[in-house]
């Protein structure tokens, strides 16, 4: 199978499987779960094939590989254009990896409307992969929005107590941003169309903007619209308050997908769209975004210190971690955007996806047994569920960036790059290291250490199924921690290529 077909399959196989699930009788839960799992695993296998066929040295006319380009809505200049570069490739892989794991993770947790649940999840997967694979601005927007619906259903139907509030908040927050972006997309199109460039194709837009740059005020306005949308997704302080609620109230699979993949869409959006489209504005925004990100790092960490709910704590930790990613993305110095920091940011996105996804899985796993997320209901669990504790601990270490685990590589690259461009930002961003250790160890201590409550009914340790889905994540955390070149080998050329897709006007 050639790469193009494989990529299209990767995008649409989950949705097709979702449709096929409709044909199954709703009460055959096992069959439905199995079918969904199979579909996602096949998708994952296909995406691994993409990884193997990806050529980092390719130097085609577009930065993308496995390109499919079909005129979809020619009257609006919209094409079905998908393709991957080193940046999106791994995000797609992350998505295809997280999806089967999310299904496995909710194998027993979801007992109601099982079929609908898996359909939502599968459609969500297609939406997410589509966002990363789209190389057409309008197609991207379509996927970006499509994904919202299954997500709010996941939160709203299968979530916990305040799920409706969380779902509404998530939805409205996201819509505010994405609709403004929508307007900006149209404005951008109108600008290019007035210059005779009538296409939503990314490569065309890149080239078009190089030839016909927007004026600086226009750039700033449009960048703000894009940035708002992406910043909400990231989330950047102070636009983050949807996140704790959504993460906390969502079912495990929802939280995993949210933390694992959805948040990356924001940062990915900055890389793919906001920065290359409006480089001058992006440069002008560097201090703003950096400061907000730094505030986010510290503020998020401080929020973690006072949380009583495990999921909420982990959710806030995402605010902190993603803040670091943003600092890296916006590491801009005299020699332009710092490729090391950008690579680091992408790496950190992946690492965060794996480790925070794993954390949510673990919380979900223990929640299934104890039906509590309150930290104070726990204590001494290391004794009761030692395997769980060990996995939890490793994940947590990866999350706080202990060397030899995945988190460190990204953090280190980001900090190195940022330090080259702006030392103050790097220093402030690095405080996250201390605070991260503080809240995570606090969590670990309060949940796992100490004396176990004698009266507590027995809690089973991690079972085989749970081991099955945790193992790849743990292996990945370690692999990413000690063999970063395997990943950066593919990412770096794409980032270098990315830097060529736009030009910053002198003294922006």
């Amino acid at each position: 199978m050639d790469g193009e077909t494989a990529l299209n399959l990767v995008i649409f196989l989950p949705a097709a499987a979702g449709l096929a699930l409709l044909l199954l009788p709703g009460r055959l839960h096992g069959l439905i779960r199995g079918a969904a799992l199979t579909a996602t695993i096949v998708t994952f296998a296909l995406s691994i094939g993409l990884l193997r066929n990806f050529d980092p040295a390719a130097d085609g006319p577009t930065p993308f590989q496995f390109v499919t380009s079909i005129e979809w809505i020619p009257s609006l200049g919209i094409g079905y254009r998908v393709g991957l570069d080193g940046i999106s490739l791994f995000l797609v892989l992350l998505t295809t990896l997280i999806s089967p794991i999310a299904i496995l993770g909710s194998w027993t947790g979801i007992k109601e409307r099982v079929r609908e649940f898996h359909i939502a999840l599968l459609f969500l997967e297609t939406g997410m992969i589509g966002v990363f694979a789209a190389t057409d601005l309008a197609l991207f927007y379509v996927f970006w929005e499509v994904m919202l619906i299954p997500m709010i259903l996941l939160i709203g139907i299968w979530g916990s107590k305040d799920r409706i509030y969380a779902a509404v908040k998530f939805f409205v927050y996201t819509m505010v941003g994405s609709l403004l972006m929508f307007l900006a997309i149209l404005y951008l199109y109108a600008h290019l169309a007035s210059e005779g460039v009538e296409s939503f194709s990314l490569t065309t837009i890149y080239a078009g903007l190089l030839d016909h740059p927007l004026s600086f005020p226009e750039q700033v306005t449009l960048f703000s619209a894009f940035a708002l949308s992406f910043a909400i997704k990231v989330p950047l302080f102070p636009l983050h308050t949807w996140l704790p609620d959504a993460h906390t109230e969502a079912p495990t699979a929802g939280s995993v997908v949210l933390a694992g993949v959805l948040l990356k869409m924001g940062t990915y959006g900055f890389i793919r769209f906001a920065i290359p489209f409006f480089p001058d504005a992006a440069v002008a925004a560097v201090p703003w975004i950096s400061w907000l990100a730094i505030i986010g790092i510290i503020f998020g960490a401080m929020m973690c210190l006072v949380q009583e709910d495990m999921k909420r704590l982990i959710a806030y930790s995402s605010v902190s971690h993603l803040g670091l990613v943003m600092v890296g993305l916006f590491a801009y110095g005299s020699s332009g955007f710092n490729s090391k920091a950008v690579v680091g940011s992408i790496y950190q996105m992946l690492s965060h996806g794996v480790s925070t996804g794993a954390l949510f899985l673990l919380v979900g796993l223990i929640y299934e047994r104890t039906h509590s997320r309150r930290i104070s209901d726990y204590g001494g669990f290391a004794k009761i569920v030692p395997r769980f504790a060990a996995i939890f601990f490793v994940t947590l270490l990866a999350s706080i960036g202990l060397p030899a685990l995945s988190g460190f590589v990204g953090e280190f690259l980001i900090l190195t790059g940022t330090f080259e461009t702006n030392r103050l930002y790097a220093v402030l961003a690095a405080t996250g290291i201390v605070l991260g250790a503080l809240y995570m160890l606090n969590l670990y201590q309060r949940v796992m250490l100490g004396k176990a409550d004698e009266k507590r009914p027995a809690v089973a340790d991690v079972n085989f199924r749970e081991m099955v889905y945790m193992t790849p994540l743990i292996v990945l955390m370690v692999l990413m921690g000690i063999r970063s070149p395997w990943f950066t080998r593919l990412i770096e050329p794409s980032v270098e290529r990315w830097l060529e897709t736009f030009r910053v006007a002198a003294a922006g």
Partner: protein, 652 residues
């Protein structure tokens, strides 16, 4: 075996042991666990010794490369190991002492439920520590640096069912992380300045002057800040003021851990790091002074606190802090070789002392409070003898290991800075005093209160399944005593045998004296006096006339204040609690409630939707349901529309 290809085995073997024990240890018999656990370090030790001698004879450094960790354009970090003189000494010492302590642990932990877990952590520690010293670049060093910190955390909180232990572990980790924060920034600054992480290259650059090999200009700022930031890391790891607070609490871990990690190896990695980047430090005299001052002040303060502690391990902990201060003093004076020399001898005698203390604690069924000890020399004669050797060594008894290394430091200080020397000298007296106090309280006199306070546990000295209970006090098993004996031997002769270690490690080092010359040098003579003075004072206050002690400590106002400060550890913990921990908590809570919940969520988010609803509800009132009103809207709207149209038509 080809060393250049297989050198990585030194750190990997213990790690392999850790993996094995970690994954399947719980299902293996204890003996097998012990075999795996001890096998790794011992094999590493053999290799280290082998290659140490190879190195010594050939003078060729062994370099080993194990693939890339980072490989980006302009940022290349390999898993590279380098066995040079310094790292070889460290590796041998670590694997040697480590092996002994592993063996000791087999006995010490024999009844513990978390046997395999314990050895997993311990092996993991060995591996990390060896990575730390063998790393050829600073990022890999940082990996080891963090790794040992992690193991330290795990082992301090080994008996995690006691909240206090868990807290102590966390504290250690956090405080270390604060140091690491500085360390990491140092690394970043190194990269920006030197364009490389290679330790050798950094040293060469720093020694070379203003331009690094990669063509980057080395600014004065970088010259000053690199060593300073790295030193922040060192203060964390090596428990120097102001980040020393974690080490005494770290005694919550099993005693062999204290011996290995919190005395012999991990805590000295800061010193190692300074020695490793000697050229960088030498290029910044002001930082050197900072290092020396911090070192000596720490030495004094820790010695002062150690005087009044009752927990036997706490005394040793503060003693460790104090001795580390000495090492930093030496390093700060530029005598890196001597610092390492003291590091090595300290590993011997402090390891011995901790193991001895462990034997005592083991024998007393996990009693750590010296007030409930006393007179143990009769029950534990071997332990007493070994402890005595250790005490003599640390206190600076001539001919023993500690004498030589400490003397060398004080001599350097005397030459270079008299104020530093004076403080160091005072510390020497204190050292002798508190060590003999410990010895006296533990082994001399009469047994006090065994079992009398069974329910009243000394803080941090108690473990869940090891309830202190009265029982027959008997000598530790041979498996524990044997390693102690080896260490005792090293404590006795280490100073003499390894007398040329400073020169081996630091090519710039010029030995001032021979083995015997040191005895009669002015500094050596003074050192002997300090040793005797401290020992006498301890004998006087704790054996001959305890009443005087009471009088000085509780009735003399000055004495009382001093005692309170000493016993209260200068209230640094309380200070930090009030200045950092609590404000952070309170601030976080305030931010959470005020900024996150109230300002953003309620005011901005809900407020917006509330406003929309209010406006909507108001507009809704227009919809009165009455036809005339509606007609009014229609006509009024038409009027306004026409007005707008005509305004535009008539150009406003």
């Amino acid at each position: 075996m080809n060393a250049t290809r297989w050198m990585f085995l030194i750190p990997i073997l213990p790690l392999a042991g850790a993996m094995l024990n970690g994954f399947v240890g719980r299902r293996l018999p204890r003996s097998l666990v012990a075999l795996v656990a001890c096998g790794g370090p011992i094999a590493s030790f053999c290799l280290a010794v082998l290659w140490f001698f190879e190195l010594r004879s050939s003078g060729d450094e062994l370099v080993n490369w194990l693939g890339d960790w980072f490989a980006l354009a302009g940022l290349d970090v390999p898993f590279g190991f380098r066995l040079d003189n310094l790292s070889a000494v460290m590796a041998v010492m670590i694997t040697g002492v480590g092996s002994l302590i592993h063996v000791y642990s087999v006995g010490y932990m024999s009844k513990d439920a978390g046997y395999a877990r314990y050895f997993t952590y311990l092996n993991l520690f060995m591996g990390s520590m060896l990575i730390l010293v063998l790393a050829d670049n600073i990022v890999l060093l940082f990996l080891g640096w963090e790794g040992v910190g992690l193991c330290s955390y795990l082992l301090i909180g080994f008996w995690y069912e006691d909240e206090a232990n868990a807290r102590a572990g966390k504290k250690a980790f956090i405080v270390n992380r604060i140091g690491d924060f500085g360390f990491l920034l140092g690394i970043l600054l190194i990269y920006v300045t030197h364009g490389t992480f290679d330790l050798r290259q950094i040293n060469t650059d720093a020694a070379g002057g203003v331009v690094s090999a990669s063509g980057l200009a080395i600014s004065d700022v970088a010259k000053l800040w690199i060593p300073l930031l790295l030193f922040i890391g060192a203060t964390g790891k090596s428990a120097q003021i102001p980040l020393h607070v974690w080490l005494p609490d770290a005694m919550a871990g099993p005693t062999p851990v204290s011996a290995l990690i919190h005395a012999a190896t991990m805590v000295t990695s800061g010193v190692y790091m300074v020695a490793r980047l000697g050229a960088v430090y030498s290029a910044a005299p002001s930082v050197m002074l900072v290092v020396a001052v911090i070192g000596v002040v720490t030495a004094l303060v820790a010695g002062f606190i150690a005087m009044s502690q009752y927990d036997i391990k706490k005394v040793l902990a503060y003693s460790t802090v104090s001795q580390l201060g000495y090492m930093f003093l030496a390093a700060g004076l530029g005598a890196y070789g001597i610092a390492i020399f003291h590091l090595v001898t300290h590993a011997f005698f402090k390891g011995l002392l901790f193991l001895g203390a462990g034997a005592v604690i083991h024998s007393l069924h996990h009693e750590q409070d010296m007030r409930r000890m006393g007179g143990l020399r009769k029950e534990l004669p071997v332990t007493f003898a070994l402890m005595l050797i250790g005490t003599l060594a640390i206190a600076g008894c001539p001919l023993l290991a500690g004498f030589y290394s400490k003397d060398a430091i004080l001599e350097q200080a005397m030459e270079k800075n008299l104020i530093l020397w004076a403080i160091g000298a005072a510390t020497a007296v204190l050292t002798s005093f508190y060590m003999f106090r410990l010895l006296a309280m533990t082994f001399l006199g009469e047994r006090r209160g065994a079992g009398a306070h069974a329910g009243d546990h000394a803080p941090g000295g108690h473990h869940d399944d090891h309830h202190a209970h009265a029982g027959p006090v008997k000598e530790a098993p041979a498996v524990m005593l044997a390693p102690m004996a080896v260490l005792a031997g090293l404590s006795i002769c280490g100073g003499i045998v390894f007398h040329d270690l400073p020169a081996f490690v630091d090519s710039a080092h010029v030995a001032a004296h021979g083995v015997l010359g040191a005895l009669v040098s002015p500094s050596g003579l003074l050192g002997t006096v300090f040793f005797l003075g401290g020992a006498w004072a301890a004998w006087f206050f704790f054996v001959k006339s305890p009443a005087t002690r009471e009088a000085v400590a509780s009735r003399n106002p000055a004495g009382r204040v001093l005692w309170r400060f000493s016993h209260g550890k200068l209230f640094v913990d309380e200070l930090y609690d009030a200045l950092v921990v609590r404000p952070l908590d309170v601030l976080s809570q305030i931010f959470y409630l005020l900024v996150d919940r109230l300002l953003i969520d309620v005011v901005l988010v809900s407020g917006t939707s509330f406003c929309a609803r209010v406006v909507g509800s108001t507009l809704r009132l227009l919809q009165t349901g009455r036809v005339p009103t509606y007609a009014g809207w229609l006509v009024g709207g038409a009027v306004v529309l026409l007005i707008v149209i005509f305004m535009v038509l008539n150009g406003r």
